[in-house]
């Protein structure tokens, strides 16, 4: 065995040993080397990830092809067209309340507090599919004034918080990573009796939704909104009163018939976002200003 080969083997084993020791250190020390290197890698991978990520986002939901045989009878085609028109009308009637709700939410957005923050729009470069801790990488970093623990949202819906930051990229931890936090539940239906239920919601085993057990005869209905409470200690102050999710269903609790369980799901498809907005506090952003 040559001298060079022997040295190479020694260096390899020493490096492997160091890495193994590093993997068993506390998170603060274990990430001391990995953090900056990861930020560098994100920056280097940025252009390619952006191109491939954008391409995959485009092909993810391809429009369905219209298949129609050319040899069909005209009467059948006309009958099919009439059926389609009925379906279109039905869809329109379903879309109308949704459009009204969107308009109401847009009006409501004016009431969200954006004072003292600068909104930095970012594109999602990649999504790391992990059951325990899904991560989004975005194309904005410390050069854009982004720092750790900043709030990330989209159209006033909370997405998560910034975890690590590189010069041109940042990784954010999704909202659903948090086990429990305090929310304020309010009715979505403007005609419903006004109430505000402020409680701590707990993450369900599916890690994609939250639950809250309330009095069976108490408030809480499907469609109700869950806003982040003001005194949350989990998320930064800028994310107060942002939409966390909506009550998607109500479950019975056989072991306790006096209670019902509200299941709250995030309003956004968190793992399929193409863009997000980072709320940069103006005080921490030297070049800031609304």
């Amino acid at each position: 065995m040559s001298h060079r080969h022997l040295n190479s083997r020694r260096v390899l084993f020493a490096l492997a040993g160091l890495l193994l020791i590093n993997s068993q250190l506390g998170t603060k020390y274990a990430t001391a080397v990995g953090g900056p290197l990861a930020a560098m890698l994100d920056t280097v991978l940025g252009p390619a990830s952006f191109i491939i990520g954008g391409f995959t986002q485009k092909i993810r939901q391809p429009p369905g092809p219209l298949r129609y045989d050319n040899d069909r009878d005209l009467a059948v085609v006309i009958a099919d067209r009439d059926k389609a028109l009925v379906l279109v009308e039905e869809l329109r009637s379903r879309v109308q309340p949704l459009e009204e709700e969107v308009a109401r939410l847009k009006r409501a957005r004016e009431h969200f507090d954006y004072s003292g923050v600068r909104i930095v729009d970012a594109r999602v470069l990649s999504f790391n599919d992990s059951h325990t801790n899904p991560i989004l990488t975005i194309d904005r970093g410390s050069r854009d004034g982004i720092g750790p623990r900043m709030s990330v949202e989209l159209d006033s819906n909370l997405v998560g918080i910034i975890e690590t930051v590189g010069p041109r990229t940042a990784r954010l931890r999704l909202l659903t990573t948090e086990k429990a936090f305090r929310v304020r539940i309010t009715p979505a239906d403007p005609d419903a009796p006004v109430y505000q239920l402020e409680e701590i919601i707990h993450r369900r085993p599916d890690r994609q939704s939250y639950q809250l057990d309330v009095n069976r005869n108490g408030p809480g209905a499907v469609g109700d909104y869950a806003f982040l409470a003001d005194d949350t200690r989990v998320f930064p102050d800028e994310s107060r009163s942002r939409i966390v999710g909506r009550v998607s269903k109500i479950e019975d609790l056989p072991q306790d018939p006096l209670l019902k369980r509200l299941v709250i799901r995030p309003t956004l498809p968190l793992t399929r976002l193409a863009k997000v907005s980072v709320l940069v506090p103006v005080a921490s952003d030297e070049g800031g200003g609304l």
Partner: protein
């Protein structure tokens, strides 16, 4: 081995892997293209070259963590090194120039890689070590998810491997590789 080609291939495959992660999000089917690359090099490279390439790829995987937002160097690097050792030991028994061999080896070697990686992460939860336990960590859950991902990787190894084998001449794997041993 031509390390420039290795760098280019690693860059493209890692970028593609993150893109596929976006495409297949939520399905758990996002393949590990770096594992395919490691096994491909393992089938053709000199033992020490394979070990170094595996270590580099393992570190790159560690820098793109799937278990937490913070990059902890070590678990995947150790896993890939164990995987490299496994592929070097097993490759003498195989017909190396077949895409099917690559796909099967991706699955087999992936078992070693993932078992090692999950074990290293799980050790962090032991009370007598300084490390903090991983939040929400469940070794069984991880193994189940990684097993599904391995099947996906083995399937993806067929087209990716076909492409890699077509480009094999530019990799510059030496002719005297087969006689060498790592230990």
């Amino acid at each position: 081995m031509n390390w420039l080609i290795f760098g280019l291939a690693a860059y493209l495959l890692i970028a593609l892997e993150s893109g596929l992660g976006t495409l297949l999000s939520g399905t758990g089917l996002a393949p590990s293209l770096t594992l395919i690359l490691m096994v491909f090099i393992g089938l053709g490279g000199a033992p020490m070259t394979v070990a170094w390439a595996a270590l580099v790829l393992g570190i790159l995987v560690d820098l793109q963590p799937t278990t937490g937002a913070e990059a902890i160097l070590g678990p995947a690097a150790a896993g890939y090194l164990v995987g490299a050792y496994a592929v070097i030991q097993l490759r003498h028994l195989l017909f190396r120039d077949s895409v099917l061999t690559l796909a099967i080896m991706v699955f087999v070697v992936g078992l070693f890689v993932n078992l090692t990686e999950v074990a290293v992460y799980s050790f962090r939860g032991l009370s007598f070590l300084a490390a903090d336990p991983m939040e929400g960590w469940s070794a069984f859950d991880q193994l189940a998810r990684r097993f599904v991902q391995l099947i996906s990787s083995a399937v993806f190894a067929l087209p990716v491997g076909w492409l890699l084998f077509r480009l094999k001449p530019v990799w510059g794997f030496g002719a005297g590789v087969r006689a060498e041993r790592m230990y």
